[in-house]
Symmetry: D3
Subunit: 235 residues, 6 copies
Amino acid sequence: MRPSGRQISELRPVSIETGVMKHAEGSCLIRCGDTHVLCTATLEERVPPFLKNTGLGWVTAEYGMLPRATNTRMRREAKNGQSGRTQEIQRLIGRSLRAGIDRSALGERQISIDCDVIQADGGTRCASITGGWVALRLAVNKLMKAGDITSDPLTDHVAAVSCGVYAGQTILDLDYAEDSQAGTDANFVMTGSHGLIEIQGSAEGATFSRTQFDELMNLAEAGITQLVEAQKAAI
Amino acid sequence: MRPSGRQISELRPVSIETGVMKHAEGSCLIRCGDTHVLCTATLEERVPPFLKNTGLGWVTAEYGMLPRATNTRMRREAKNGQSGRTQEIQRLIGRSLRAGIDRSALGERQISIDCDVIQADGGTRCASITGGWVALRLAVNKLMKAGDITSDPLTDHVAAVSCGVYAGQTILDLDYAEDSQAGTDANFVMTGSHGLIEIQGSAEGATFSRTQFDELMNLAEAGITQLVEAQKAAI
Amino acid sequence: MRPSGRQISELRPVSIETGVMKHAEGSCLIRCGDTHVLCTATLEERVPPFLKNTGLGWVTAEYGMLPRATNTRMRREAKNGQSGRTQEIQRLIGRSLRAGIDRSALGERQISIDCDVIQADGGTRCASITGGWVALRLAVNKLMKAGDITSDPLTDHVAAVSCGVYAGQTILDLDYAEDSQAGTDANFVMTGSHGLIEIQGSAEGATFSRTQFDELMNLAEAGITQLVEAQKAAI
Amino acid sequence: MRPSGRQISELRPVSIETGVMKHAEGSCLIRCGDTHVLCTATLEERVPPFLKNTGLGWVTAEYGMLPRATNTRMRREAKNGQSGRTQEIQRLIGRSLRAGIDRSALGERQISIDCDVIQADGGTRCASITGGWVALRLAVNKLMKAGDITSDPLTDHVAAVSCGVYAGQTILDLDYAEDSQAGTDANFVMTGSHGLIEIQGSAEGATFSRTQFDELMNLAEAGITQLVEAQKAAI
Amino acid sequence: MRPSGRQISELRPVSIETGVMKHAEGSCLIRCGDTHVLCTATLEERVPPFLKNTGLGWVTAEYGMLPRATNTRMRREAKNGQSGRTQEIQRLIGRSLRAGIDRSALGERQISIDCDVIQADGGTRCASITGGWVALRLAVNKLMKAGDITSDPLTDHVAAVSCGVYAGQTILDLDYAEDSQAGTDANFVMTGSHGLIEIQGSAEGATFSRTQFDELMNLAEAGITQLVEAQKAAI
Amino acid sequence: MRPSGRQISELRPVSIETGVMKHAEGSCLIRCGDTHVLCTATLEERVPPFLKNTGLGWVTAEYGMLPRATNTRMRREAKNGQSGRTQEIQRLIGRSLRAGIDRSALGERQISIDCDVIQADGGTRCASITGGWVALRLAVNKLMKAGDITSDPLTDHVAAVSCGVYAGQTILDLDYAEDSQAGTDANFVMTGSHGLIEIQGSAEGATFSRTQFDELMNLAEAGITQLVEAQKAAI
C-alpha cells in the first residue's frame, strides 16, 4: 500500500556512523533511508549572556540543507537568509535536545549542534534530532573522559520520528513520496523511556480524529524504541 | 491554586467585538482576559503565482505585536525583521484557517488575515486563530452577500486554545503568569465539531506522559466548545 | 466646500482616552476623526551611550501603522524594513517631543514613545505628536509621584496639526480625502504658548505664496489651541 | 559675529562648474564655500511602473556622501544601508525638483539626479537641490536640442538655502560651525520667482517665534535670488 | 621539511567518488587529503535574462562551507549572508568552469555547480574547481546520452591547484598548516593541456620574485597533470 | 591597433593631485586617462579587536563608485549592499597596501584608505592602489612630522597596473574599450623595486600561454616604473 512498499509500522533502514568529522567534538552521519544528515557537536567554554554566572550550560542547534539535497535545487539560504521553516526546525531541535539534559550538571559551557541535510527524502527534522543527540552524547563523553564534568548531564536518550495518515491509513516514518500525499503529518520527540518532549500534529487537508491521533502515537512509540536501539548501537 | 484564581477548566472571559476597523472587509477585536488581538481580513481578487489558473483561492496570515503589548518593551520588528517565533506563529495561523475552508468554493481570490496583538497576557497565537476566523467569516459573508460566491467556502468554525501542566496539574487557557511557570504547554486547533487541525505540545522542563496529554486534550475540547459559542455570538 | 463638510477652520472631533494599555508607564488612544493612534510611553533607567554620565535624559519615538489601517492593505514593515517615510515621521515625533522637555530635569533616563496607527484617515503624524505628548506627560507624572524626580521636566504642551491649500482655499486639519487632493500640505508643531517647534510645508503641485503660508499658520495656531485643550481635558 | 566672519545676509562664495562628468547627460560640481556636491543627471527612456501609459515623466533623486567628506570619517552606507537622514534628504531633493517641471511636457521618460557630497561643511541638501537643478536643466537641454521634446518642461528655476537663528540672530546660509550651534535651522526651497516649494524649520533647543521665522524667510528670499543668478551664469 | 612530511612537489592523496547524490544531474565527493568537497551539478532548461535568445548557455557556481568544516566553528552564512571571501571564491569557480566550455554547443540551458566544503584543510577553492568540473562533465554526459545536445561542449579538462612559498621553499598543494605559514600563496587554474585560465598569486608577508613565481608555475603544471588524471579515472 | 591609438606599451596620461580633501589626513585625486579616483586616508588611534595589545598597526581599504561614474548608471550600493566585485576589490587594495608597510613601525593605529571612483574608464582597481598609496604616504608623513612615529613604516612604493591580450597582442594599461574586448586581463601589484605583491590573471575567452603571461609581466614592470615616478612627483 505504501509507495515505499514498507509495512505500516516499518521504519526505513537506519544507520548512524560516528566520528565522521575530523574537527568536531562529536559527529555522526545519520541515514534514515535516503535522508542523510550530518550532525556535529561543537563545545565551547562560554554561554550566552543570559546564562552568565548561573552555573547552567546551554545546548543550541542550527539546521541547514545543501541546495541540491532535494529533487529540485533550492536557493542557498546564505544568499537569502534563513526561511521561517528553517528557523522553526532549528528551534525545535534545540528545544528537544535541551529536554534531555541536566544543564547544571553540564556547567557553564555551550554545545552547538549543527544538523546539515546532505540528502533529503522526508523526515529531515526527525533525523536531525536523533542524530543530533548522538553528536551531543559523543561531545559529552569527551568532556567526562577529560574529567571536566563528573556526573553525566544527559538524563535519557532523545529521538524523533514522524507518523502520518496516508490514504486513510496511519503509517510510521514517512518518506517524501508519502509525506507529500499525507492527509496528516505528526512529529513525535520522546525520551528513551517514552516521556513526551514534543508533539506536532498537523492536518494537511481533512482534519484528524482523536482515535487516529492515538494510533499515530502508538506507531511513534514503537519507532522511537527502534531509533534508540540504533543510537545505542552507534556509540 | 492558579495564579489567576480560575478553576482548572475555566476559560478567561472572552469577548469578540466585530466591525472595529473602517477599511477592512472583516475585522474584530478579540479579548481573552488581558490578551487583546485586532484581527482584520483583506480581500484581494488575485492569488499567489503558484495558484494562477487553478480555480483555487488562498488564505494567508500575518502576525505582529505592538512593542509595548508586553510588560517589558520589545524591539520593533520593523527595525529588526520578523523573529523566528513570529514567522512560526503566522505560518500556524494561516495553516489553521486554511484547514476550515473549501478553496475551490472560494475561487481565485486571496484573503489575508492580519493579527496584531495590542496587549499580551499569554495565548496570543490561540486568540489570533479564534479571532482571525471571525474576521475571515465576515469577509466571506460580504462576498456571499455581494453574490461573488454562491456556496459557503467555510466548512466549519476554527478555534484554538492552550492547555498546560502547571504545578503538576493540567489546566485550561494559560495566562502569562501560568504559562511562564508551566512544565508543559500545548496548543490545540480544532473545528467546531472537534476535528483536529493542529496539535503542538512541548515539554518545558520535565517530559509529559500520554495520560497527561489525554487530559490536556479533554480540557481543550471543552474550551473549544465555548470559544466557538463566542464566535457564533459575535457574528 | 470641504469633502468632510467641515468649516475651513474646523478641527475633526478629537478624543483622547488615557490608561488604555495595561503594561505601559503612560498610554492613550487619540482619535482625530477616523485617524486613531495608540501612543505608549516606556520608561527605562538607562540612556543611549552618547549620553552616559552627562546627567541628561532622552526622549525617543517610533512610529508604525497596522497593515490594514489604510484603505488598501500596506505591506507589513516587519517583513520589509521601515520605509523612508516611516523613519522621517518617527524622527519628527522624537525631535518635537524633545523640544518640550528639560532633559537635565529628567535625569539620566529614557522615555520611548511608540505611536502605532490603528486606523488612518490623514494627519497620522500630527495625531502621533499630540497623543505622544499625553503618554509622555503620564509617564513623567508617574516619575514625579514616585519622587524619582522633583521638578517637572515638561516645559510646555506640545501638539501638532496639519493645514493645507485645498481647491485654492486654506483649510485646517486635512483628512485623507482632502490631503490627497491638496495643492500644499503643511504640518506645524507648537507648544501650548505657540512657540514654534517644527514647520514642514510642501507644495504638491503648484507652489504656494508667503501670503498663503501666513494664513496656514493662522489656522494652525487656532487648531493647536484646541488640541492643547483636549490634552488638558484628558489628563 | 559669525564664526565665518560673514555678514548676516551673506552667502558663501558659490561656484557651479558644468560638464564635469564624461558619461552623464547633465552634470555639475557645485561649491558653496567648502561644501562641494557633484550632481549628475541620467536620462532613461522608461518610467516607474505606476506611470506607464500616463504620458507623464518622472524626476527622482539619490543622495550620498563620501565617507571622508566630513571631519570624522562616517561609515560607508554601502556597508550599512541608507540612514533615515539620507532617505529623508533624497526624498526632499526629488520632491523639490519635481515641483519645477511639467511632467507631461517631459513625456514618458525618467531623469535621475545623483547628488554626491564630495566635501561637507553644512548645507549639503540645499547645495544638492541648487546643483541638481543645473544637472536637470542640462539634461533637458540635451533632449530639446535633439528634438525629443519640443516645449520646455522646466517651468522655473529651483534653488534652496538654509537660514537659522545663531546666538539669537537670524543668519543666512549656515556653515557647519554655525549649524552645529544654531538654535533654529530652516531650509527653504523656492522657484526663481520666489514661489514656495518646501519649508522645513526646526527648533534645536529653544522654540522660535513667528517674527523670527519671518526674518528667516526674508533672508532666504534674498539668498535664493543670488543662487538663481549663479545657476543662470553656469548654463 | 613540510609539516605534512610530503615532498616539495607531492600532491596530497586525491580521490574522486562520483554519483554520491541521488537527486543531482552530476555529483562527486572530491577528497584532497583532509579537504573534502561535495560537488553537484544542477541542469535547468533556462538561462539568466541577459542570455535569452542568444543561443548561449551558462555555467554558474556557488560555494559554501559547513560551520564545523574547520577547526573552530564558523558562523553559518545563512544567518549572516555570504562573506566577501565566499563570493570571491564562487565567482572564481564559475569563471574557471566557463573557460572550458563552448557555450553555444551547450545551448540555452544553465548548469549550476554547488561546491560545499564538508571538511576543510586548505585548498578548498582548488578542490572545488577540480571536483566541480567532474560534476559538470557528468551532467553534460547525461545531456549527450539523452540526445539533447550533439557535440560535446566541454573543450578540455579544468583543474586547479595551489602552490606557495613556505620557509623560503616553493611547494605544491598546501594544506592548512602550510598555508597559514606560507609567505606567498598562489592558485593556478589550467586546462588539461596547461592552457592558463586563472592565476592568483598573493604575497602574505615579504614580496616574491619573478624567479619564485616561475618555480610555482612549474609545480602547478605538474600538479594539474596529476589532478586531470584523477578526473579521468573518476569518470 | 589599439582603440585608444596608444603604443602597445604606452600608459595613459597619469596625474596625481594631492591635498584635494579638506578633512582627510592624506588625499589625492588620481587620473589615469578618463579613470578618476579620489583617495583619502583616515588616521585613527585605534586598531581592530584582533590587534589589541600586539603593538601592530593596520591598513584597510574601502572602494566605491559613484552611480554615474560609468556609461550606464549603476544602482547605488547604499541601496543594495556591496556587490561581490566591490568586496573583492577592496580586499585587494587593503592587502596590497599592507604588503608595503612595517606594521610594527606604524604602531597600534589604523589607517583607512577610501577609494571612490568619480569616473570610470577601465583600470579602477589599479588606479585605486596607486593613488591609495599616495594618500597613505601623506598620512604617514603627517604622523612622522608630528613625531608620533620615528622610523618610516613604509618600506617601498606600491603601485598597480593592468595588462591584457587584445586582438592577440599583449598591451599595457587597458581602458574600458580595450578591456571589454580583451581575451585575457591581468592585474599586477608591485613595489617600486618590482617585488611582486599580487598577480591576478584571468582568461576571458581563450586560455593564455606561459609565454604570453611572461610578456604581460614585462609590460607591467615597465608600467609600474612610470607609475612610481608619478607617485614620487606628486609628493
